[in-house]
C-alpha cells in the first residue's frame, strides 16, 4: 500500500474542483445558451454599425443623434447589467450544485477528502471564469463596433470600468444564486422570481426596498450618463438616487462573501441524496 497524501485544504480542494468543473462548464449545453444571449447585443451592434455606415443615424432622442459611445453605454445598462448578468447568475449559479444532484454525479465529489463547501466554491470560481470568458469578449466587440476609433481614448476609462462592473455583477449574482441553489429545492424558479419579480418591483418603489436588491448597487456603478428625456428618462429616474460608488462596491463585495459563506454552510448541512 502506497503512502497517502495529506487531504487537500479547503482552498486546495476548491482549486481541484475548479479544474474539474471548468471544462465541463465551458463545453456544456448551457454555454450555447450563453453564447446566444451574449451574441444578441453583438448582432445589434453590427446592425447599428451597418446602418451608420450607410449614412443613417441609428438612434435619435428628441431629434438629436445619439453618438456611438452613448449607444454603447445604454447597451451596457439595458442588455448586460439589467438582463444578461442577472440571467447568467440565475442559470449558472442555481445549477452549480443542483445539476450535479440531478445528474447524480454529486456522489463522486461528496465522497472525497475535501469539504463539501470547497466543492461549491470551486464550482463558483469555474462559473466566474467561464461566464466572464464569454461575456467580456462580447462587450469588447460591442464597444469596438459602436464607438468610433476617434472616441476610444476619451471613453476607454469608462469602458474598463464597464468590464470591471460586469465581472463584479456576475460575481454578486452568481454567489447569491449559488446560495439559492444550495439551499432550496426549486432554485431556478426562485431565482427567476427574484430577478424578474422582486428586483423589478423593488427598484421602482420609492423608499428603502431597493437596497435589498443586487441591481441597485450594480447600476450605481454604471459610469455612463443616460439620455435625460423621453423613454430613457424613465430609466434615468431609477438611477437618480444611487448610492456612492464605494458603497456599491462594498455592498456587492458583501453580497459575494456573505452569500457564498451561507452557501457553503447550506451545502455542508444538507442531505442531497434525498433530492434524487
Amino acid at each position: 500500500m502506497r503512502a497517502r497524501p495529506v487531504p487537500p485544504s479547503f482552498a486546495a480542494g476548491a482549486a481541484r474542483v475548479f479544474g474539474l468543473s471548468l471544462g465541463e462548464m465551458l463545453w456544456s449545453r448551457r454555454t450555447v445558451f450563453l453564447l446566444l444571449v451574449t451574441g444578441a447585443p453583438v448582432f445589434l451592434a453590427i446592425v447599428a454599425r451597418i446602418v451608420r455606415g450607410s449614412g443613417v443615424v441609428p438612434l435619435r432622442v428628441n431629434g438629436a443623434a445619439v453618438d456611438g459611445g452613448s449607444i454603447f453605454g445604454m447597451m451596457i445598462w439595458v442588455f448586460f447589467l439589467r438582463f444578461i448578468v442577472p440571467v447568467l447568475g440565475v442559470f449558472y449559479g442555481t445549477s452549480l450544485i443542483a445539476d450535479e444532484v440531478e445528474e447524480r454525479t454529486i456522489t463522486y465529489l461528496f465522497t472525497r477528502p475535501i469539504r463539501r463547501g470547497a466543492v461549491l466554491v470551486g464550482k463558483y470560481l469555474a462559473y466566474i471564469v467561464s461566464t466572464t470568458l464569454v461575456v467580456l469578449p462580447s462587450v469588447v466587440l460591442v464597444y469596438f463596433l459602436l464607438v468610433p476609433l476617434g472616441q476610444v481614448a476619451r471613453t476607454f476609462v469608462a469602458f474598463a470600468a464597464d468590464l470591471g462592473l460586469l465581472a463584479l455583477g456576475l460575481a454578486a449574482y452568481g454567489a447569491l444564486f449559488a446560495l439559492v441553489g444550495a439551499a432550496l429545492k426549486r432554485p431556478l424558479v426562485s431565482g427567476l422570481v427574484f430577478v424578474f419579480g422582486w428586483e423589478q418591483i423593488a427598484l421602482l418603489v420609492p423608499g428603502y426596498l431597493k437596497r435589498f436588491t443586487v441591481a441597485h448597487y450594480v447600476q450605481g456603478l454604471v459610469p455612463h450618463a443616460m439620455p435625460s428625456e423621453g423613454v430613457a428618462a424613465v430609466l434615468q429616474s431609477v438611477l437618480r438616487d444611487n448610492p456612492p460608488a464605494l458603497v456599491c462596491i462594498l455592498a456587492l463585495t458583501a453580497v459575494v462573501v456573505v452569500t457564498l459563506w451561507l452557501g457553503v454552510k447550506a451545502v455542508e448541512s444538507r442531505e442531497y441524496v434525498l433530492d434524487q
Binding site: M1, R2, R4, P5, V6, P7, P8, A12, G13, R16, V17, G19, L20, G23, E24, W27, E103, R104, T105, T107, Y108, L109, F110, T111, R112, P113, I114, R115, R116, E268, E271, Y272, V273, L274, Q276
Partner: protein, 306 residues
C-alpha cells in the same frame, strides 16, 4: 476490530422509515450486504458513506463518524450504484480528476488512475469518452475511480450490475484479490449468488432491519428450496436454452424478446455453466445475466415467518 459499526442506527424520510434501529459490526475482509430492492440496503450504504445523516443512533466507519468528516474519505473508496458520469470526459480524464481530489499531484494522480484502469482491464478504452462506453465498461470505470487512491475500505454498491458473465467472474476475482491485499470490502447486492462468490460473511437486510448476519451457509439450504430465476440476454436464445435444459437443476425455461428466463434449483452450478458457455462462444455472445430480486424476497419471507 470492526470496519463499520452501527449502534441503534435509524433513518426516517419524513414519516417513512428507511432503516430501523440497526446495530451491526462489520469485520475486516469481504462482507456482503444482501437484501431485496427497498429493503433499506441503499439507505444503509448512504449512511455509511456519509451521504445521509442518521436520524438516531450512530455509525462509525474505520472507528470515526463519517458524516461531515471529509478527511475520512482518504481511506475509503466508494463505487455507487447509479449509472452517472461526466460523459464528455474520457475514462482516464475522469479517474485522474477524481484521484486528484485526494491531494495527489497531477503526475501521481495520472499514474494512480492508470493503475486503477489497468486493474479493471479498461486500459484500451481509457482514452475514449465515457459516453461511448457499454454498461459493463461504465461499471468498471466506476470501480476504477473507487480504487485509484488505494483505500483501506472499499464500499461497492451493486458492482456487478450490467457486466457480462466473463467480466463478472474477473471482477469477483479482482475484488477477492484486493481483499487478500488488505483492503476491506463491503459489497451490496440483491443477488445471493453474486455475494456468495465473493464471501461467506453476509449481512441480510429487509424492511429496514438486519434480519441475519454471519455465515452465508446458514441460509444456503433455504435458498435451495426456492427455484432461482435467471434472465439471460443473448441473440441465440433457443440454442442456449437447449444446452441449459440438459442441466439437472433447470426446472423451466421461457423465452422473451432478446433472451430467455430460466428457473433453476442449483444456481451455483447453473451460473458456472452459463459462464462456461459465454467463454466458449459457440452459442454466440451472452450479453448479460441478471437475477430478479424475487428469489431473495422468497427467502426473506421464509426467514421472517421463521
Amino acid at each position: 476490530m470492526t470496519i463499520v459499526a452501527a449502534e441503534h442506527l435509524s433513518k426516517w424520510y419524513g414519516q417513512v422509515s428507511g432503516l430501523n434501529d440497526v446495530s451491526v459490526s462489520i469485520p475486516p475482509g469481504i462482507t456482503g450486504l444482501l437484501g431485496p430492492n427497498g429493503a433499506g440496503k441503499s439507505t444503509f450504504m448512504k449512511l455509511i458513506t456519509g451521504q445521509l445523516r442518521p436520524s438516531k443512533g450512530q455509525v462509525l466507519v474505520l472507528g470515526e463518524p463519517i458524516w461531515d468528516n471529509a478527511a475520512l474519505y482518504q481511506r475509503i473508496g466508494f463505487c455507487p450504484e447509479q449509472d452517472a458520469f461526466y460523459d464528455r470526459m474520457t475514462g482516464r480524464e475522469w479517474v485522474t480528476a477524481l484521484a486528484g481530489l485526494h491531494g495527489f499531484d497531477e503526475r501521481t494522480a495520472a499514474a494512480a488512475a492508470a493503475r486503477a484502469i489497468a486493474a479493471v482491464e479498461l486500459t484500451e478504452a481509457a482514452d475514449r469518452k465515457i459516453g461511448s462506453y457499454s454498461k459493463g465498461m461504465r461499471q468498471r470505470i466506476k470501480l476504477a475511480q473507487s480504487i485509484a487512491h488505494e483505500p483501506e475500505l472499499l464500499i461497492l454498491d451493486e458492482p456487478l450490475s450490467g457486466m457480462d458473465p466473463l467480466m463478472r467472474r474477473r471482477t469477483v476475482k479482482q475484488i477477492k484479490e484486493w481483499a487478500r491485499n488488505g483492503t476491506s470490502v463491503l459489497v451490496s447486492s440483491h443477488i445471493l449468488h453474486e455475494i456468495e462468490s465473493m464471501t461467506s460473511n453476509i449481512v441480510l437486510i429487509n424492511n429496514g432491519r438486519i434480519v441475519a448476519e454471519g455465515d452465508v451457509h446458514q441460509i444456503r439450504d433455504l435458498i435451495d428450496e426456492h427455484p432461482h430465476t435467471v434472465s439471460i440476454r443473448t441473440t441465440q436464445a433457443h440454442a442456449v436454452a437447449r444446452e441449459l435444459l440438459a442441466d439437472e437443476g433447470v426446472v423451466s425455461v421461457r423465452f422473451e424478446p432478446g433472451g430467455l428466463i430460466v428457473e433453476t434449483v442449483r444456481p451455483d452450478a447453473f451460473y458456472a455453466r452459463v459462464t462456461d458457455l459465454a467463454a466458449g462462444g459457440q452459442f454466440g455472445p451472452i450479453h448479460e445475466i441478471t437475477s430478479p430480486d424475487d428469489n431473495l424476497q422468497a427467502v426473506f419471507r421464509y426467514l421472517v415467518k421463521q
